[in-house]
């Protein structure tokens, strides 16, 4: 229905609404794997996960098995986790150290850390054959697009497509804000990941990251319980970290509207440009002093006062500067998504900031989170509800003005659905980028 039909695909995204097939169609999911994730830049992992030469991290992206490998010279390479011989995966642990080379467990073909061929048993058997001229004789296939930005590793699966800088542009400032929170500019991914399987389309999760109108009704039960437990406490009573993090979820529409947002080209966004639910965590004098020493007064203040709710590096990564946490969205099927929440330790910053990130991820992104339970329930509910007849469209009308998606960057109010329309517009663009001329 949609293969080789870019016009049909583009017609699914109207200015103010999107068609349900974006969430429901397994055919579109397969085309996303083939086209969309070939054209876009996807977050793979963090360089701190492979600190030493020979360290690898295996990660499936858009159905392809990849691995990022720390080289002997300190660089990072990303290659496909597939033996050039018959296709076995070279590593089957999710991470580890391979030593000085990779050796396939099946027939002992081996490769250097950079993927080039090292040795093949019974070499004489290949004399006079075409092996050397074939892909199989050239070693491991490298991923065409790899970019390491301040230790964040991204890949683009296609050899063509937008350059890394052009693709992300201003959105990279959100990574800067996170990294600069370390006075020495170094982060380490630590403490493990909250890993969730959600039975919904990945775009549903991604648009929810920019949805400020849902907390009041979706999270009503969690915030009501938190407020009831905290009722009667003096306004200046010191809050336990968990309360400090959960109570702001109950903020009203006006709060969320006023926090402001910013849409960026290619689907990226910043939500909470003015302030957010993360703005009022207890301040830490010594740390702020260290930050001023590292960055100077003006820049330190700029870094520390900027705490957006979420910055989306479309389509795979959501960043919080405070708490120091990221979410990674991994589509598994049209109706199945893996979401991981990771925390960072910022070198030179107090351990309390790391604890904040752990605590936040546990409270809000754990499979046992009382906040996430209601989100997950509603995502899965929409995935079912959209099969209803009578209306094949999902409304994105809030604050729509004809042509408004043409302008990016653009500052918007915090409850504007332009933050989502901007994602879907980018989806249609990157989906059809190389599908050929329209009929």
């Amino acid at each position: 229905m949609y293969r080789d039909q870019p016009d049909r695909i583009r017609a699914l995204v109207q200015e103010d609404r999107v068609h349900r097939d974006l969430y429901l169609s397994q055919e579109l999911f397969e085309l996303e794997q083939e086209h969309f994730f070939a054209n876009t830049w996807t977050y793979l992992g963090h360089a701190s996960q492979v600190p030493d030469a020979g360290d690898y991290l295996a990660q499936e992206i858009a159905g392809r098995p990849l691995m990022m490998v720390r080289q002997a010279d300190g660089g990072i390479r990303v290659m496909f986790n597939r033996c050039a011989h018959k296709g076995s995966q070279l590593v089957s642990d999710s991470c580890g150290n391979t030593g000085k080379f990779f050796r396939c467990p099946y027939h002992a073909w081996s490769y250097k850390l950079d993927g080039s061929p090292l040795a093949i048993p019974i070499k004489t058997g290949y004399e006079g054959t075409r092996l050397k001229e074939c892909e199989s004789g050239r070693g491991l296939s490298l991923v065409p697009g790899v970019a390491v930005y301040r230790d964040f590793v991204f890949v683009r699966l296609s050899a063509q497509g937008p350059s890394f800088e052009d693709y992300f542009g201003e959105a990279l400032r959100s990574i800067d804000n996170l990294v600069d929170r370390s006075p020495v500019g170094r982060l380490t991914l630590a403490g493990g990941a909250m890993r969730n399987i959600i039975h919904c389309n990945w775009k549903m999760y991604l648009e929810n990251i920019n949805d400020t109108v849902h907390p009041l009704s979706t999270h009503e039960s969690a915030t009501r319980a938190a407020n009831a437990l905290w009722a009667g406490k003096a306004p200046d009573a010191p809050k336990p970290m968990a309360m400090e993090q959960i109570l702001p979820f109950g903020a009203g529409y006006e709060f969320f509207d006023n926090m402001g947002g910013r849409v960026l080209p290619h689907g990226h966004s910043v939500l909470g440009t003015r302030f957010s639910i993360h703005s009022n965590y207890a301040r830490l004098g010594d740390y702020e002093e260290a930050m001023r020493a590292a960055h100077g007064e003006e820049k330190a203040t700029q870094i520390l006062t900027r705490s957006p709710q979420n910055s989306v590096l479309f389509p795979s990564l959501s960043v919080k500067g405070s708490p120091q946490a990221i979410r990674v969205i991994r589509p598994l099927a049209a109706n199945r998504t893996l979401v991981e929440a990771w925390a960072f330790r910022a070198e030179g910053a107090p351990e309390l900031l790391f604890e904040r990130a752990l605590s936040y991820n546990r409270l809000v992104f754990s499979p046992m989170s009382v906040v996430a339970h209601d989100d997950v329930h509603l995502f899965e509910s929409m995935q079912k509800g959209l099969k209803a007849e009578g209306n094949e469209w999902v409304s994105l009308h809030r604050d729509h003005h004809p042509g408004d998606a043409e302008v990016a960057p653009q500052d918007v109010n915090g409850t504007s659905e332009l933050l989502m329309r901007n994602q879907f517009r980018a989806w249609a663009d990157f989906m059809t980028l190389r599908m050929g001329a329209t009929a």
Partner: protein, 167 residues
């Protein structure tokens, strides 16, 4: 452990009964009574690395909750606007016989390890988890109480669907 404790509360039967009763309260949805089984500084802990995790600070946990957070969880479950509880979740704890790992009569504490299967059902869906509990029990004037209930899941790091009640 040497000899049979003179304190009846710390004898094997009493300790094992406590663990069985604790799970039964959860299966019956008697969360408030269940919460009363914790000491004031009691903790409910589901480490992300299961039994390999050393502490709750250097690595994250699926849950690490004091009484305040446990109370929050229970109050939310009782709220009619807890959307994810329509339909409601039910659970069944299937326990293997507890093994008493340690008893300190003087301190009035005991440690038990209890392998379990945990089944949580909701509507047409069912989640099954396996693992073992490590109960740290203390003697109080009101009887035995949990200082910590640690839930060591098998494969705690794998991606999980929502787990909404208490494992």
């Amino acid at each position: 452990m040497t000899g049979v404790p003179s304190d009846l509360l710390l004898r094997e039967t009493a300790l094992c009964d406590f663990v069985a009763q604790e799970a039964a309260l959860l299966d019956e949805g008697q969360y408030e009574q269940w919460l009363d089984l914790f000491t004031e500084d009691g903790r409910y802990w589901v480490p992300l690395l299961g039994r390999f995790q050393e502490d709750a600070h250097s690595h994250n946990s699926i849950a690490y909750e004091d009484r305040l957070l446990l109370q929050l969880r229970i109050q939310r479950l009782r709220d009619s606007r807890a959307h994810s509880q329509h339909p409601p979740s039910r659970c069944q704890h299937v326990l293997q016989i507890s093994r008493v790992e340690d008893v300190d009569e003087e301190a009035g504490t005991a440690v038990l390890r209890t392998p379990f299967l945990y089944i949580e059902a909701r509507g047409e869906e069912q989640v099954m988890l396996a693992g073992s509990y490590r109960h740290l029990l203390v003697r109080t004037p009101d009887g035995l109480r949990m200082q910590q209930k640690r839930v060591d899941l098998l494969g705690a790091e794998r991606a999980l669907p929502a787990v909404q009640l208490f494992i």
